[in-house]
């Protein structure tokens, strides 16, 4: 099975994000980056499928030079080779433009399966994978936790809501967006890092792929949310506090 996994480099979860001078994006200097979490699960799913059924895992990532470190991490974890779509203007592109880049890079490879994470930790748009499916003319399924190979395609387990799941059969080639938590991730190893040095990373540019950057939606500005999370203490008698809590759970948290 030829599996392509689209991965994204995002600011580290622990990184302190600050608004930059233009107020349109965050200050990128001094920022630490990491592999997007659900993409790590997509990669893991790809690697496990390869280990079970043979084939090849190719990671694809779009972004500036710094993305190279995340690509190497994916290679270290076991991907066979990589395509790096080098573009410095990744921040100005919307999901459609990024998906076009990815699809253009993937198409000539004719993959059997395309995996992406469900959504990114920075923008959280949650649609790049679905758009790639549309652009490649492949069927897709999203929010996937498990993938089984079948004679003609794949059977996947999709997460619905509130503890419900559904099984879907899809013919391949297909695109799956992978939800976090379906597999156990593997850790990076010294051996993996050393082996990754010899693996192929092909660099492509947006110009070569003939995808322009003009966005259809624009992120005009970013702001700090008004209130940070804090603990609300509920006082009164036991009965009063209990009643207040039930109200909160019902109308603020929507869990009742």
């Amino acid at each position: 099975m030829k599996i392509m996994v689209a991965i994204k480099q995002v600011p580290d979860r622990d990184a302190q994000v600050r608004i930059n001078a233009s107020a349109k994006w965050i200050e990128e200097s001094d920022l630490q980056y990491a592999l997007n979490e659900s993409d790590a699960y997509a990669l893991e799913e790809g690697l496990q499928l390869k280990e079970k059924h043979g084939g090849e895992v190719i990671v694809v990532s779009a972004g500036p030079e710094r993305v190279g470190s995340t690509i190497r991490e994916a290679l270290a974890k076991g991907a066979d080779r990589a395509i790096h779509i080098v573009c410095d203007d990744i921040g100005e592109r919307d999901a459609l433009s990024v998906a076009r880049l990815l699809a253009a890079a993937m198409k000539p490879e004719s993959p059997d399966l395309v995996l992406t994470g469900l959504q990114s930790e920075d923008l959280g748009l949650g649609q790049t994978g679905v758009i790639v499916a549309e652009l490649l003319g492949m069927p897709h399924a999203s929010l996937i936790l498990q993938v089984e190979k079948t004679e003609t395609g794949v059977t996947v387990k999709q997460e619905l809501e509130e503890g419900w799941f559904q099984t879907i059969e899809l013919p391949t080639p297909a695109v799956l967006t992978i939800q976090s938590g379906g597999n156990k991730l593997r850790y990076a190893t010294l051996m993996g890092i050393k082996r990754a040095k010899t693996k192929e990373v092909r660099q492509l540019t947006a110009t070569e792929l003939a995808v322009d950057a003009a966005p259809v939606v624009v992120l005009e500005r970013i702001t700090l949310p008004k209130k940070q999370k804090s603990t609300q203490m509920l006082s009164g008698t036991a009965a009063e506090a209990a009643a207040a809590l039930v109200q909160k759970l019902k109308f603020e948290v929507h869990v009742l």
């Binding site: 979860r13 622990d14 302190q16 990491a34 156990k184 991730l185 593997r186 190893t189 010294l190 993996g192």
Partner: protein, 633 residues
């Protein structure tokens, strides 16, 4: 004047037949010895060279050799009675070298010690004294092994040990008896030949049994890697730790063949004592078994037939085994080496282990919490940020940054420092030191954490550091050296002890039992300082196992982050021991010990002793005014 005393009798004449026979027997004996010993030596020498091994400076090696080998100090100190018995056997052997050489020389007619001469006489008496002690010693050891049978010597009675004991006894007995028979008679002839045959039987047994330690362990002690639990740097692109036979270094192989199977390591091992698979003795014997079957050039994985992966990952790296070992085996580099081999190649699959590694890969701490939690803590407590002007940089560590209990310790220490007028600050950002990654054998992660920290610390102009965590202290001071020059760091017990006379002595009738953390005691050799500090708060009592023999809390070696233990929990065993002292307070000096005991005490329910860090013990007597709370002088 010495005419009254009997002299050592010797046969007067040896026939040519006897001389030929003797020469032949010696040759057979020597050949049988070499046949096996040469093979062992070959396996050791054909093992990989130890990169980074230096014979010099040699002074410490000589000192250790004299103290541990010649004086038998470690053997005696850790097990006084059998140790002394062993020492007598050992010293007896030393004294016998000359006697034995003379013995064979006499057989060939070229004896050089004259039993009638002054020197010979004196020396034979000298040797006789040792022979007597040796005979008593070996008898004692025989009784212990075959009648008392302590469990760490193993379930199986070893016939070879019995035979060896018998041979040694025969050697001594025949020697001593020779003082009481006449020169040249049949009796002396029989004694002489029995002595000879015993010697010639003894020699080939040595390399075939654990008595190989007679020959190897002096070398093992002399050639030790040095330092405690010192984990060697990986060398080259294909070194991932102890994966296969090809990764066994000469020192590891030498140690594997040196093991005398005394079981001291097992006796003190927290894992072996709580029903785990791990038995440090079996790890070493496993390597020996591997070398015997496959040899040092084999690609067969080390974790397989002879050693179990599960066992390697049950080690708390408390170091009791390495500390106890009388023949210089360095267990920790071996156990950590086996882990390195498994982790660096991805062969170790463990849910909790992966979770820990992923948390460290992506975040700043072993607990997988957001770094902003640390920021919030610093802000809430008003801890000053280190800016280069303060004297000390207070290193928080993962536990001090995120663990509610660890935070209390940090706050207590900060109060004491303010009270003492010592300026300090905390770093704006900290990453885990990589202790758990290091001990679990994840070199990639450890390198990343060490390098990131070293770089950040270099920028921040830190000169002196102090930390509440012995694991941080050890890792920063020793393990980071592989990747740069670490700052000077000390444990807060050392810091506080220096100021003991300026800290209030508390007038409370409280019994306090101090638990020695492994990474402070055995790893850093700090035993008195925390006691000095704890003694300010009450009356110190000792647990049965303390100081060098302290029993682990169960958290080390990354095990605090792994899943449930099999068998008994180490923390509960240790807690029961501490509670049994009757102390009202358990004093800890490590946030990991603290967290382990906290759970174990909680499970005991009401009436359990209080658990406090030594910093908290000191701080409880300090004025609580806001002025000297974390504000600095």
């Amino acid at each position: 004047m010495i005419v009254l005393l009997p002299t050592l009798a010797e046969p007067e004449h040896f026939s040519m037949v006897e001389k030929f026979l003797l020469t032949g027997l010696v040759a057979v004996s020597a050949w049988t010895f070499w046949h096996r010993f040469g093979l062992v030596l070959d396996k050791i020498l054909k093992s990989k060279k130890d990169a980074g091994f230096h014979l010099f400076p040699i002074g410490k090696r000589v000192r250790d050799f004299v103290w541990e080998v010649l004086c038998q100090a470690k053997v005696v100190r850790e097990r006084p009675l059998p140790g002394l018995a062993h020492a007598f056997v050992f010293w007896g052997f030393c004294a016998f070298v000359l006697v034995t050489l003379n013995h064979f020389a006499t057989g060939l007619g070229i004896g050089f010690l004259d039993s009638a001469g002054l020197v010979g006489r004196f020396y034979f008496y000298f040797a006789a004294a040792f022979a007597l002690a040796c005979a008593v010693g070996i008898l004692g050891l025989f009784v212990r092994r075959f009648l008392v049978r302590p469990k760490w010597l193993g379930e199986k009675l070893s016939w070879e040990s019995g035979l060896i004991a018998l041979l040694i006894f025969v050697l001594m007995a025949t020697y001593l008896a020779s003082f009481f028979v006449a020169d040249g008679g049949l009796a002396v002839w029989i004694l002489w030949w029995v002595h000879t045959l015993a010697l010639l039987t003894f020699l080939p047994i040595i390399p075939h049994t654990k008595h190989l330690h007679l020959v190897l362990s002096p070398a093992t002690v002399f050639l030790s890697r040095g330092g405690f639990s010192s984990i060697p740097a990986l060398s080259g692109d294909e070194d991932f730790g102890l994966v296969a036979g090809t990764d066994l270094t000469q020192l590891v192989s030498l140690q594997a063949y040196s093991c005398v199977e005394c079981g001291r390591c097992t006796e003190h091992c927290p894992a072996a004592n709580t029903g785990k698979l791990l038995n440090p003795k079996e790890i070493i014997l496993g390597l020996r078994g591997y070398l015997n079957e496959y040899g040092p050039a084999a690609e067969e994985p080390l974790l397989g037939k002879y050693n179990a992966q599960q066992a390697a990952f049950q080690c708390t790296t408390c170091g009791a085994c390495e500390f106890q070992c009388p023949v210089g085996i360095e267990h920790l580099p071996i156990i950590v080496g086996l882990r390195r081999g498994a982790v660096n190649t991805g062969a170790w699959e463990d849910e909790y282990g992966s979770k820990l590694f992923l948390a460290l890969e992506r975040g700043s701490n072993a607990l997988g919490l957001s770094a902003s939690e640390r920021d919030k803590f610093i802000e809430k407590q008003g801890l000053p940020i280190f800016d280069g002007t303060q004297e000390y940089c207070l290193w928080l560590g993962c536990m001090g940054s995120y663990d509610p209990k660890g935070r209390e310790i940090v706050v207590a220490l900060a109060r004491v420092m303010s009270y003492l007028g010592v300026s300090y600050g905390v770093l704006r950002k900290e990453k885990c030191t990589g202790d758990s990654a290091r001990r679990l054998g994840n070199d990639l992660l450890f390198q990343q954490m060490a390098e990131a920290n070293l770089e950040a610390i270099a920028k921040s102009k830190v000169r002196k550091m102090v930390s509440i965590c012995p694991h941080c202290v050890r890792t920063i001071q020793e393990d980071w050296k592989e990747y740069g020059t670490p700052p000077e760091i000390e444990h807060h017990s050392e810091f506080l002890a220096r100021f003991a006379d300026r800290l209030p002595k508390q007038k409370v009738e409280e019994k306090i039992v101090f638990h020695d953390p492994c990474y402070l005691g055995r790893y850093r050799n700090v035993y008195d300082e925390p006691r000095t500090v704890a003694a300010l708060a009450g009356e110190l009592v000792e647990a049965p196992r303390h100081r060098e023999r302290s029993f682990c809390c169960g958290a080390g070696g990354g095990l605090a982050f792994l899943g449930e233990e099999t068998g008994e929990r180490v923390s509960q065993v240790r807690t029961a021991e501490l509670v049994a002292t009757g102390a009202q307070t358990i004093a800890a000096a490590c946030p990991f010990c603290n967290t382990m005991f906290r759970d174990a005490l909680a499970a005991r329910g009401e009436g359990a002793p209080e658990l406090m860090d030594i910093a908290q013990l000191v701080a409880r007597e300090l004025p609580r005014s806001k002025d000297n709370f974390c504000s600095g002088p």
